[in-house]
Structure formats: C-alpha cells, structure tokens
Symmetry: C2
Subunit: 456 residues, 2 copies
C-alpha cells in the first residue's frame, strides 16, 4: 500500500477567480450592467440564502471545478447524475436566480457582463452565458430525491419544513448562467479573518507550515462538546501507516436558524480545543467555508468531500445523520453512499471509486456515548455497557447553557464554554435569535472596500 | 482506494504439518530414531527456550512459509538479508540445535528420520536434510545486529543481559536442518485451550464467525492496563473506509522471566477486557502463539507481522519500544522499519513494500499517558498538557499489585485485576517466581496423549 499524499483538487485544478489588482478589476468591470445582490427569502420574507456566499466559495476554489452559475445542461446533469457536463461529480445545483421583474429591468442577454454589487460596493462580475427558466419546486425535489425515485435512502418526501428544500423552492424562476469573478476581494471581519483558509492558502499551510502528509476533515456547524472532540480524535487514528497527521475542522458558515450557536462561538469554541491543548495546534486547525447549508445528508456529504479535498485533505470523517435535519433520509445515508454507493443518485460505487469522482477517503464512524463503567466517552462498536450508556444530547446541553449552567467537564471543556459566554455577552443571548439574525443578515461576515468603477 | 480484505498467508500458502490420523502418524514414525527434546539452558542451567514451541508454531503455520529447522543456506540468507532462500522475508534463524554428545549418540545423517519426543511421548518427526556447525555467538550477534553494521537502529552491542541474544548464544554448535511434522497433536491445558486459534482456525473464525473484513493485531506479553486498552482501541480506528472491524490480541507465550505476570493471568486479563464489555467480544478476541520471545524490536516486529498475517489480520499496531528490552535498539526502531525501512537489515523500503514481503499494514502509534486536564488517557500527538501528563509505569503498577492494592480504575479495570488475583491464589504469588518457572518448565502448556510407535 503506497503512503497517501495530498490529493489534487477536484476536477484536476483549483478554480481561482479573484482579481487582486485594483486597476485590472476596474477595467474588467467598466461598463458592466450593475445589479445589487439580494438574499433568497422564504414566503415570510426571511432571508434563507445569500448568493454572495456561493460566489465566494466558487471563486476561491472551494467548489472546484465549478466556476459560476450553472447552465441548463449542467443543472440537468447534476439533478440526474450528480455530475457536471465535463463528467466531474458535483452534488448540488449552483444557480444565480433572478426575479421576472429584475430580469426585465436588467435587460441582459448572452454575452453581457454583469457587475454584482454587495453592501453597495462592486463585488464580482459575471459573464452571461445563458438565461433560462426553472421550476423551483421541481429543482428542489429533484435535488434531494424522493422515496419513489431514491428508495435506498430517502424515507419521506421533502417539504416546507426542510430548510434546504426551501432554499431551492424559494428561488426565482429565472437563472442567469455564467462564470463569476470577484473583483473586490472581501475583507473578513473578526473573528472570521483568522479562520479564513481558502483552498490555495490552506494547501500551502498544510504542506509548508503544518507539514501534514495526511489530514482528516471534520464537518461542523456546532460548538464542540466532548463527543465531537472524541469523534475528531478517534476518526483521526485512521491514516495509512500511522494516524492522520492533521485534523482540519471546517465549519460551514451560512444561513442560521434560531437556537443555533452564533458563528463566532462555533469558530472560537473549536479554536479553544487546540488553544487549550485538548488537541495540539500542531495537529488541529480551524477553518470555515461559506455556504447556506442544504442539509442534504448524502448529497451534502459529496459537497463536503469536494470542499475538503480542494482544501488539501486526504480523509473525511462521516458520522451518523451527517448534515441531516429531520428524518427525510436514512440516518446511515451518507455512510451507505461512501461504503457502497447509491445507484439512484448516480453512484453505482462510492464517490471515491467512480471515474471523475473524489479522491478523498471516507472514514465512516459509528456513535459515541458517555459510559460510566468504561469511565470515558466510549465508541458504540467497543463499549458493551449498553444499559449504562448516556447519549450526548445537544438540546440538553443547550438547555444547560440557556440556564447559565456551566456543563460538566466530561461533556464540555470549560474553555469551550467560555467561548460561548464571550459571545453571549456580545450578543446578549447565547443562541441565535431574531436580533442576531437581523445583525448577520445586514452585516454579513465580510466588508467590501469602497470601489469606483469607471463608466464605460 | 480498494477496500482491504484478508491477506494471503506469508509465502502464499499456509504451512500445515500436523497429522491428525493416528494410524498415519504411527506409520510415519515407525522406525524413526528417537530423541527426547531438551530446553536450551543458560550457563546456570536455567531453561531459556523450548524448541517444541517453535515446532508447534511452524507446524500449525504461524511461521509460514518456514517448514522446519533451517538449512545453512537459509540461515546465512536470513542473517544477511532477513530472507529465506525462496526469497520470502523472514527475520529469525529457526534452528534445531544439538550437542556434540547427543549428535554422536544419535548417529544420524541426511535422509534419516527423527522421532522427537516430548514429556516422554512421541510428538513430531523430522526428516534430516542437512547437519552443519554454527558459531552460536556469531549467530546471536548477527541475528540482532551491531552498532557498526546497523547504525540506523542499533545503539549498543548485544550481550549476556539480552535474553534473546542469550537464546542464540546458548545454542549447541550443531544444527540438524529439516522439516518438522507433528504426529501427536498437543492438547492445550486450561486456560490455554480456549485461546488456541492456529492460523487456519483463526482465519475461519475471523471470516465466518466474527465476519470481520479488517482486523488489527495487538502484540502482548502483559496483563493489560488501561493504556494498553486505549492503544488497542485507538489503533483500531485505522482501517479503510471505516475503523477495523476486529482487534486480535495475540499473546506471545514462552520463556518467562521473574517478575512477569503468569501466562494464565495475561490471557484471562485480556479476556476480561472483552468479557466485561470494555471492548465487545464482537470486536475483540484473545489468542496466543508459542515462542520464546527474542526481544528483537524491529526484527521481532517482522515475526509479529508474519504471525498475524498468517492468522488473517489486515493491520498490525506498533508502539514505541516494540518487543524491546534494555536500550539496545532505538526506541523507534520498529517504527523506522515499518515507515522507511532499515537498509542494513535488508530493507530499502518497509517490509510491506518490498518484493516477497509482508502484506500486513502497519499502524505506527506514538504514546499514551493519563492527562488529568483532558480527564482521560490521552494520545501524545493530541494532548498539549505535557506538564500535567502522568505516564503509565508497569513497575509502579506491579508494585501496587505486589502490595495487594487494587489499582485505581483509571489505570486497571477491576475485572482485569481479578484475573491477576485468581491466578495469584493458584500460584501463591502474583508474579512469576522460581516456583512458577519450575512448574511451567516441567508441565509446559500442553499435554501429549500416550502413543505407541511400532518398532520398524
């Protein structure tokens, strides 16, 4: 068995569509048709997705080889086979949707250049390749599957209660396809800035600074309890001839739901794990990717694999109910995908064994619980004391935090709790509430420098 | 990456040289020249090796592809390149040595058949292929290496204080080479009998009963403390797309030293780990192999790899100071061998990457300690609380046991301690002492049924 090394980016090369030089950027945007980006909103008008997050993830290469909003050909192939027209596996439609009114007002057609603005400033340009109509409800349903069409893993029909389905459902019926290019690189605010490792930088840090040959990715959108920490530590014992050299935490930062922890607490909570020596910084680093989570369990796991392969990881850990909400999917759906494949989604074999597939290696993990007899956080495949087991309960833990009670050390590291408290003081509440939602939807994670585009 | 499956036996096929049919056995032994097996003894007359253990391990296939006592050609190649004349990697000389007096009295020559007796009963036959002289001291030194010839890993010259070197040093100067065949299968006494899984049986149990696709081997000659248990559990998270399905504990049972735990406590101590649910029996099994340990660190690790590959394991865990005594070898010698190779011992690459090498995959592990801040047995590559760490000390633990103190749960499982106490009561002492040595050297681990060989 040869030793593993950093896999190439998905699709063979890293997409990088960020213009750093101001004069070049101004020239490229000159004369383009301006359009201020708007969030996708649910029927009540609440923002549930911000397309700028997809633009950033695409242009910095997190989603390589995707380069922009998909053409109708790409969209159809993704929905049918989870592949782009160039054959490479990709799970989700990436779409720049626009309302009838805005499309009419813009009056664009193929070959035009759009200047996309954010927070009132020039942000990115987009070369229009195609303008086409979609049926948002149909796209939503085909994105996630149905019990009839995907009997291997879909257990109930997707509906309005599923936040990912709602994102596609609430899109406008027009799509502008075309490649995106960022012309005004975003400035991440604190504390995001110190966790910002886009793929090229991340690969450089892994290779030259951390000097990790093997790296396992950990998906998160939570403040870590000790069960998460144990999952990370144990999954990382995989590798080749020795445990993985590094653990890369990659938080998905995007649309928030009430009761979530604030982004800031999530990032600094994970940072506390290495800062306070539970997993040394020489083996652990915290990063994030912008994406309004679709909660697509196996479908989402493909995106996670692509993102982390692009960031330079050799392995990816997958637990039960990976990126899941509700009981739409089988709780093992992701692990079924990565151990056998799911033919109805286009995978006769696992995604890392098909042509034009991923190169990242899955580590499919079972469950962890606290066992008072073992006296430790035990792995379900080891611990035989099933009568004594105490499962981790995120809602119980949240309840404790809400009451201002510091959870016992065995459940949460005190320094992680302190990261929650720090941001609690800032936002006057430990969890996401309406006020936080208003704040984050207005301020976003980034600022853009003022930029003047010369009129054509 | 393809999923792993059970590797073939080392050398391509399992050696099986055990005749079960009594009438066939009698026919084969008829007229053979009788010789009662004797232990190798040190200058004080203390037994330090029993050749019947090697005969059993060879004939049941633990040492495949070795089939008996080596010819001078095989011996020379093993000492020079750690390979047999048929090219397959093998680390140690396996020799049937005999004194000048006994050789003279036997009056055998090439082509003769020997009937080897044990405890007064017929045990095995041996077809004499070659009789040759050795210089035991030279064989001993070349077996383990020297700082001059093996500067990568040998730190000081081997001498009388090294029990493995002494085994070869104390051999007689004559070697009878030839294949062994057991004609009177040994009956293992309690509790050995329920841990006896020779390779064919072990492979069957793994495949058909346990249904493990991947299995990691754990080397032991100790009663397990929680540090050993944690090593097993953590190393077993390696695998391919999921953690190893099984953990195979393989105890090396052979020459004992004063202060060791008795064999019985070692086997039942490990059994307690699965019997009492710390690692479920569905994931953990305890076995043993007969071998008078040579303490050859990297050289011994090759034998361990061969034994466990023959037993059907896909992976083998290696810690620091693997099978080591004293400071003859670099403490990382085994890990150097399995991650880079040791050219002076014939390995330009790791033993699982060379032609005619092993197929078992190493998992090279660093250290575990108890960390009061982490509140758990922590892995040195994770835990950053190096000031607070508390290292496991076998001698401290032994001291506690000697005082009749039950060690704290965090250091030893109570049921493991009870296994020690059970045999303490039987032998009137918790550790190996002169009385136990006398007992084990007389009774051995086996009985042989009475058997009459017809005179020719």
């Amino acid at each position: 068995m040869p030793k593993f090394k950093m896999p190439p980016p998905h699709g063979g090369r890293l997409v990088e569509r960020v213009v750093e030089k101001r004069d070049v950027a101004e020239k490229m945007a000159a004369g383009a048709i301006e359009y201020e980006l708007k969030p996708t909103t649910d029927p009540k008008g609440v923002p549930i997705r911000h397309v700028y997050r997809e633009i950033i993830s695409v242009c910095y290469g997190f989603f390589s080889p995707v380069e922009g909003s998909m053409t109708s050909g790409d969209l159809e192939r993704v929905l049918k086979e989870r592949r782009l027209e160039n054959e490479w596996v990709f799970p989700y439609p990436i779409l720049f949707d626009i309302s009838d009114e805005d499309l009419k007002a813009l009056n664009v057609s193929e070959g035009d250049r759009l200047l996309l603005k954010l927070k009132g400033q020039p942000f990115a340009i987009m070369d229009v390749e195609e303008i086409y109509k979609i049926d948002p409800k149909d796209v939503a349903t085909r994105t996630f599957g149905t019990p009839e069409n995907n009997p291997e893993v879909v257990r109930q029909p997707f509906d309005e209660k599923h936040p990912g389905w709602m994102i596609y459902r609430c899109m406008h019926p027009n799509v502008i396809a075309g490649k995106w290019t960022i012309i005004n690189p975003p400035k991440f605010r604190e504390p995001y800035d110190r966790f910002w490792f886009p793929p090229r930088k991340c690969r450089e840090v892994i290779k030259n600074e951390k000097k990790w040959r093997t790296v396992i990715a950990h998906q998160t959108r939570n403040v870590p309890h000790t069960g998460h920490e144990m999952l990370m530590k144990c999954a990382a014992y995989t590798g080749d001839i020795e445990p993985c050299h590094g653990i890369l935490v990659n938080a998905i930062i995007g649309a928030k739901r009430k009761g979530d922890y604030p982004n800031e607490a999530i990032l600094e909570g994970h940072e506390a794990v290495n800062k306070y020596g539970y997993i040394k910084p020489s083996r652990h680093m915290v990063t994030f990717t912008l994406w309004d989570m679709r909660y697509g369990n196996p479908i989402e796991s493909l995106l996670h694999g692509i993102i982390r392969q692009n960031m330079g990881c050799t392995h990816h850990m997958f637990g039960r109910d990976h990126a899941a909400v509700g009981e739409y999917y089988d709780k093992f759906a992701t692990q079924i995908l990565w151990s056998e494949g799911i033919p109805s989604f286009g995978f006769e074999a696992p995604p890392n064994e098909v042509d034009y597939g991923l190169k990242i290696i899955p580590q499919n993990m079972a469950e962890f619980w606290y066992c008072p007899i073992c006296g430790e956080i035990a792995y379900s495949e080891n611990c035989g004391h099933t009568d004594a087991k105490q499962k981790f309960s995120g809602s119980f833990l949240r309840g404790m935090v809400a009451e201002g009670v510091m959870p016992p050390k065995v459940v949460m590291r005190p320094e992680v709790y302190k990261a929650i408290v720090k941001w609690w003081k800032v936002f006057n509440y430990p969890f996401v509430n309406n006020k936080y939602l208003e704040y984050i939807n207005k301020e976003l994670e980034i600022d853009l420098e003022p930029m003047e585009i010369p009129k054509a």
